[in-house]
Every structure is written in C-alpha cells, then in structure tokens.
Subunit: 312 residues, 2 copies
C-alpha cells in the first residue's frame, strides 16, 4: 500500500490500482492536505509514502476521465486564489507611487496651460513666480472678485489685457482643479506613509516614504528589495546611466532614486558618491529587517548616517 | 513751411530746422495725432504736408539727442498697448480648447492609473466598463462604505484581493479628482460656448462649440478663418494626411477637425466626403458673416445642411 496526494485529493493504492481516496472539494482541502493524508494513513496503517519510481504508475491510475473535472476545477481555483493573494502591501505602494508620478505629469500639463492663459492678462506675475504650486495658490488666495481687482491693480503697469468676470471664472476653475491635484498628491503621500508603517517602517525611516516607495517600485517587491546588494540599491533607477557606463566607458552613476534623499541633497557635489554608498548600506540593512519582520531599528540607522556626515 | 508727424510729436519746419513742435506726452497723443497736426496748421496757415523728397532732411533734424528719450518711451508704450490689445476673444477660445485637450490627457493618464489600481480588487468590473467617465462615476456613485460592500459583494466570484478601508480611501480620492476633471472639462466647454455667443454665433451654430473652437485654433484667429477657402477649412487639422498625399500620392484626406461634427459622425462611411464638402461650404459662409458682424443666419445654414443629407 502506498499513499500519494496531489491537487485533487489523497490516494491509497497498490500495484493493481487505487484502493482508497479522499477527494478535496475546495482549495482549502488542498491547503490542509496533511489531514487527508493522515486520515488515509490511519485507515491503512501499513501504507507508506510514495517512492519516486512508482510515480509513473500512480499517474496512469489518475488518467481516468472521472478525475478530469476535478483537476480542472481545482487548478482553476488554485490559480484564482494565488492571483488574489498576490496583492500585497508592496503592490499597493507601487500603485500609489505610480499614481503620484502621473498626478505630477497632469499637474505640469495643466499648470503650463494655466500660465499661458493667465499670461494674457498679467504676464509679469507669471514670470515672477516660477513655482507651480505657489503660483496656483497665489491665484486662488482670494475670491474671484479679488482676482479681478488684483490683476487690474497689478495691471496698471502690466502689458496684460483687461479681464472680464466670465474669463476670470474659467481661469479660476482651472486653478482650483490644479490645486486639488496638489492635494491629491499630498494625500497619496500620506497613504504611502500609512501603509509603510506596517510594511517597512525601517526603510521608511531611513529614507523618507517617497524614496522608499520608489525603491520598492524599482525592485518590484519588498522581497526582491531585501535580496538586493547595497551596490545595486545605490544605483536602482539609474539603469540608463549604468548601461551607458558599461557600453561606452562613461563615468558610472553614483546614485539612482536615492538622489532625492535629503542627506544627498544636502551634501556637497563631491560627497554625493560617499553619502550614496553609506546610505544604500543602511537601506540594505533596513530592507532585510523589514522583510524578516525584525525589531525596529530605523531611527538608529538614520542617526548613524547623520552623525557620520554632519561631522565632516 | 512743412508739417510732419511721427510717433513722438508733430513738427513744423523749414529748410533751416524745426520751427515749432507739439510733443506727445502719452500714447493717446499719438493715437489722436490729427489734432496736433491741425493745431500746428492753424498756427502756421502757410504750412503744407511733407513732400517725400524732404523726408531725409526732417529725419536729420530729429536725430537730436533731446528726442532720443521720447522715441524710446513712446515706442515702448506703443508696443505694450499693442500687446495688450492683441488679446481678443478668439485668443481666449484657443486657450480654452487647448485647456480641454490637456484636461483630456490628464484624465486619460489618471483613469488608466485608477483602473490598474482598482483591478487589484475587482479586475472583472474594470474590464466590463470600458468608458472612463462611466467607470469613475460608478466607483463614486455611493459612499466609501458601499464601495467596500460592493467590491466585497462582486468579489465572491472575483479574483480581486480584499480591500481595507484605508486602501478604499486612496482609490476614492483618485476617482474624485478624475471626476472633478471631467467637470472642469464640461465647464470649459460652457465657457467656450458663452464666448462664442458674441464672437462667432454663426460658426458655433453650424458646427457645435467644440468643432468651432478647434477650427479657430487651427486657423489661428477668426480673421484668418474667415479668409480661408472652403477646401482648406474642410481639411484643417489633417495636415499630416495632406502632405502624405502630396508626397506619396496616397488618398487625400476627406476631413480635418470637422470629422467630430455630428452630421459627419451620422453619415455612412461612403458619404463622409460629400458631407464634409457641404459642411465646410457652410462654415466658410458662417465665418465670413461672423467676422464682418453680419446678421445671424447660423440656424438657416444648419437646417439647409440637415435637409440636404436627411433626404438621401
């Protein structure tokens, strides 16, 4: 007597054929297949586990039409369950960071349009305020009426045209939507930050939520990020520059997405490489802690880094 | 005695030099230069208008340093005034239609992201509803709570993952902004429609506000549109196809932006060319009426067209 289990059930058989079986009615049965095997074992105390040489034989027993439906259904169920379970928190972070990138694109598109439109009335102010967010805020600061007054006030010296109320409304409408996209961006950053509190608090602390999200996006998942060596993390996101370096011998990239980290932004141009190297070291440690659900040490890692580069 | 006027003033001079002058203190003086000339004429009844041969002489009189500042200031003022007056209603329509195009781009970008994100939870529904606006509306139809219930209800058969409340909030936030962009689009269309009521009621009636706005955008201004022949209006916006036709002998384009007109959309594929030709005829008439501020005949033009193609 031998015992064998697969996706549709557990079977006890001897050389002549299947003698006893426990079919799984759902995917949960398959997930707890040990139980079925044990119950078969208790019914057939002499039964042993399958020898590899006998595998072909048992497969020929199972090539019976009555099992085909079971195989189909169980496989189908299993795939669906796996698809369903493949959505992890890191998938959500990746969606969210992509959403931020696309919100940025939309903001840029619409802000440029707002400026071109507004410049008909007051070209000087638009040139004066280069930052899109500030520019939109300034336009929205007060009511429509005061936009009119303001433009007409500024305008005594302006080359801009006169602005009627209908036109002001159209411009204000556009500015409001851009402003609400800025708010969407902020709330998405908060969302990422919230997910990361449970998913990867260490990486989040060491390298700010946005940089952490971009690292996850480039690595594909927390698991993959935790497996990457420090040198890879350092240039994650700078693939183009890396391949240019390999092909043409140009200078290798010093940093990928971690360039947005405040420590690198603060460092002098000459120090960028050094900071990036130390930073990616710490990120490597943080990623491993997070993936294996270790104790929170993010604050210590960050302090070490800061201490190292503030001394110099 | 001769009299001569230019941007800085009016001058009376004889062969020895300038004898009398009226300098303009602002651009209004230049705009009413007839007055200054007349006052000089009354002071010097024997004075005549400048002969062309004497132009060189008077210019040498004016090449005096004391006039330089005046030339600079008046020219500067004149340019500013012209820039200011160059903003016409057709400029606003063109800004607005560009704004619509960019809003559409932003909507597409963000809708694709919303779908990808939502598909983690309920891939089947996203595939089922292809229209972005409907899809967003469906997601927003009820409160967040019911989004959760709905997904979890649909989901008994779905491959999607389970949705927690924080995640639902992030998705709803994105959907709301997309929805408000759809509203921005609608209000911009209304704005275009309002401007057109005074700018070009005939074109607007013959070919719907959006098509009219695109025609204005491609022509550059109402003036230029009114000068274009019917055949050009027909293929305005299909420049790529036209040049391909001229270079390679491929089939010429049958219509440009007017393809979005409801009459063409309704017509059978075979009739597209004919409808486009008649339509652009009527648009040519409408544009001329609008530019020369003629009587409103847009409804009659449209009726003629509809009658012509509904019979067949």
């Amino acid at each position: 007597m031998r015992i064998f289990s697969n996706i549709i059930g557990a079977f006890a058989f001897d050389s002549s054929g299947i003698k006893d079986e426990v079919l799984f009615s759902s995917i949960e049965g398959y997930q707890n297949r040990e139980e079925a095997v044990n119950s078969l074992k208790s019914r057939h105390p002499d039964a042993k586990e399958l020898d590899e040489k006998e595998l072909k034989q048992v497969l020929s027993f199972l090539a019976d039409k009555k099992y085909f439906q079971n195989f189909y259904l169980q496989n189908h169920q299993l795939t669906r369950t796996q698809v369903k379970n493949s959505v992890k928190d890191d998938t959500l972070v990746i969606q969210a960071i992509n959403s931020i990138d696309e919100t940025d694109k939309a903001i840029n598109l619409l802000s440029k349009r707002l400026r071109e439109w507004y410049e008909l009335y007051n070209p000087e102010f638009s040139k004066h305020e280069q930052n899109h967010e500030q520019f939109v805020a300034e336009i929205l600061k007060n009511s429509k009426q005061s936009l009119l007054e303001k433009i007409n006030f500024h305008q005594r010296d302006s080359m801009g045209a006169d602005l009627s109320e209908t036109n002001a409304e159209a411009i204000m409408g556009l500015a409001e939507k851009i402003n609400s996209l800025f708010q969407l961006r902020k709330s998405t950053v908060d969302y990422i930050s919230t997910i990361m509190d449970s998913l990867c608090p260490n990486i989040k602390t060491v390298c700010t939520p946005l940089v952490a999200a971009r690292l996850l996006e480039h690595a594909g998942s927390l698991k993959r990020l935790s497996e990457l060596p420090s040198s890879t993390i350092q240039i994650l996101g700078a693939e183009t520059a890396l391949f240019r370096h390999m092909k043409t011998g140009a200078r290798p990239p010093r940093h990928g997405v971690i360039v947005h980290h405040p420590l690198i932004a603060k460092a002098t141009e000459k120090m960028h490489g050094k900071v990036a190297r130390s930073l990616s070291d710490k990120i490597t440690i943080a990623a491993k802690i997070d993936y294996f659900k270790g104790q929170f040490r993010g604050d210590k890692l960050l302090k070490d880094l800061e201490a190292k580069f503030e001394k110099k």
